[in-house]
Amino acid sequence: MTEGRITEPLRPRRHPIRWVIGIIVAVIAVDVLRGIAANPAFQWHVVGQYFSATVILEGLKATIWLTLLTVSLGFALGTLLAIARLSHNPVLRVVSWTYIWFFRSIPLLVLILFTFNIAYLLPTIDVGLPFLPAIFSFDTNSIITPIGAAILALTIHESAYSAEVVRGGILSVDHGQMEAASALGMSGAHTMKRIVIPQAMRAIIPAAGNQLIAVLKGTSMVSVIAVGDLLYSAQAIYNRTFQVVPLLVVATLWYVVLTTVLAFVQYYVELHFSRGTTRQKPTTPVQRLRRALAALVSRFDRDEAEA
């Protein structure tokens, strides 16, 4: 046999079992979807009627701003907690650890009920120096409205979780980076801002995206203290009309829409912070879908050509 004649086609292995399992799962999935679409209890016309109702959109707005506000406040506070936990000062380390330990242990719903009823614990809020008489004093109930309680609880909850996310991100940066920056004479603050945080973001963003989505859905719990979020608005309507299921579907659809939007945003933020880490730019989800379809089509073409 001569070198030039080695031209036999190389055939990849066939996967018949994979095809069988794929078809069975696809059939079940289609049947489930058909069942949902055909079930009259979903009352899809009611869903359509309320999907963009003013009350629902008002609730949606409240859910969005409550999420963005508490995530921003929570992350700012969480970053301070993370820095405190990594500081040289043992008092800061212990206080930060205790805060994170305690508030991560409390279910969000319990925390919301607690902050809502905080007036029983602290009838007035005093401003002044520790151990000295107050300079200003406020009636707690004038500050802790339902919405105030909601913001407080969600922020505390989010700060305890994001502190761990930020700390993990900072620890993921190679120690040699800080040494190199120090050796060049950069200050600690500059090293943090320009060298450590941009690299830490690669580890922080995926976890922060999860946190954002968790808070988005967590906001639904504030409906128990009568804050007019998305779920509360849906409940307000079905308490009047008794169309429970279709209105829960309306709320569900909006949560899905928001989560999807956030996942897309997260993807592009990740892309931004992946600078210098991969030789090739990662593909976008749309590109990946297109490529997968193209691969499938070419496979069918090949099979047909053989047949």
């Binding site: 040494e179 190199a180 120090s182 050796a183 004479g185 950069m186 690299q199």
Partner: protein, 267 residues
């Protein structure tokens, strides 16, 4: 072989290390180091691993805190200031900002390069001059191009560190350190992480730097380099400098028993 710089030993040394002691917990790594390095001199630090040569290097720009002794670079006491008290002179630790200012004048090149992966090559070189020396962006860019040209990487300015070979990364790291116009360059095993065929390009850049009169302290296992470029070679063992002298003396006719054993094993 190029001309080694002729070193005037009468002048005040650029680096003066006296009675340097350093421990990690209970383990004493440096047991009293004395070393003078003249301006323009290249000193190679050799010895078995764990002998303290890298630790001493890292004490010079205070990446390591030491327990006893003093280090002066160009007349400046590293990490401390002298204060007279009624009980006598004591050394008080400087603030982080003051230590940063001292470090800016001492360049360092690491075994693992430690380039900033999220910045391209030019940005890596420009960052410190802009942040620390408050240099204008345009000036830093000109400086960056010049230095990258000098290390033979002018065509790579837009590349990210990951896209470069180890030898290229280390040359960028040298350019980055030179951008601060240091009085002294510290090299901590600069070629140990490189594939053998890439060692030469880094040593070439270091040799050119030595020929220009840069004062250099080099922890190295490259004996050819030490022989050809170093003015003096210091042999470390057990946290002490056992023997120091010109390369010929250390490699061909060592006086101390431990030096003889080490040299005979490696050659």
């Amino acid at each position: 072989m190029s001309e080694k710089q002729h070193i005037q030993t009468a002048a005040a040394p650029l680096v003066r290390i006296r009675n340097l002691h350093k421990s990690f917990d209970d383990f004493e790594v440096l047991k009293g180091i004395d070393l003078d390095v003249q301006s323009g001199e290249v000193v190679a630090l050799i010895g078995p691993s764990g002998s303290g040569k890298s630790t001493m290097l890292r004490c010079i720009n205070r990446l390591e805190v030491f327990q006893k002794g003093r280090i002066e670079v160009d007349g400046m006491l590293v990490g401390y200031r002298e204060v007279s008290t009624p009980k006598g002179v004591e050394l008080r630790e400087l603030s982080p900002a003051q230590i940063s200012r001292q470090r800016a004048d001492i360049g360092m090149v690491f075994q693992s390069f430690n380039l900033f992966p999220h910045m391209n090559v030019l940005e890596n070189v420009m960052e410190a001059p802009m942040a620390v020396r408050k240099m204008q962006r345009e000036d830093a860019e000109t400086l960056g191009w010049d230095l990258l040209n000098r290390v033979g990487l002018a065509e790579k300015t837009g590349a990210y560190p990951r896209e470069l070979s180890g030898g290229q990364q280390q040359r960028v790291a040298i350019a980055r350190a030179l951008a601060m116009q240091p009085k002294l360059m510290l090299f901590d095993e600069p070629t140990s992480a490189l594939d053998p065929e890439l060692v030469g390009e880094v040593l070439g850049v270091m040799k050119a730097l030595a020929d220009e009169g840069m004062t250099m302290l080099v922890v190295t296992h490259e004996w050819g380099f030490a022989r050809e470029v170093a003015n003096r070679v210091a042999f470390f063992d057990g946290g002490k400098i056992i023997e120091i002298g010109n390369p010929e003396q250390i490699f061909s006719s060592p006086q101390e028993e431990r030096t003889k054993v080490f040299v005979s094993k490696v050659i």
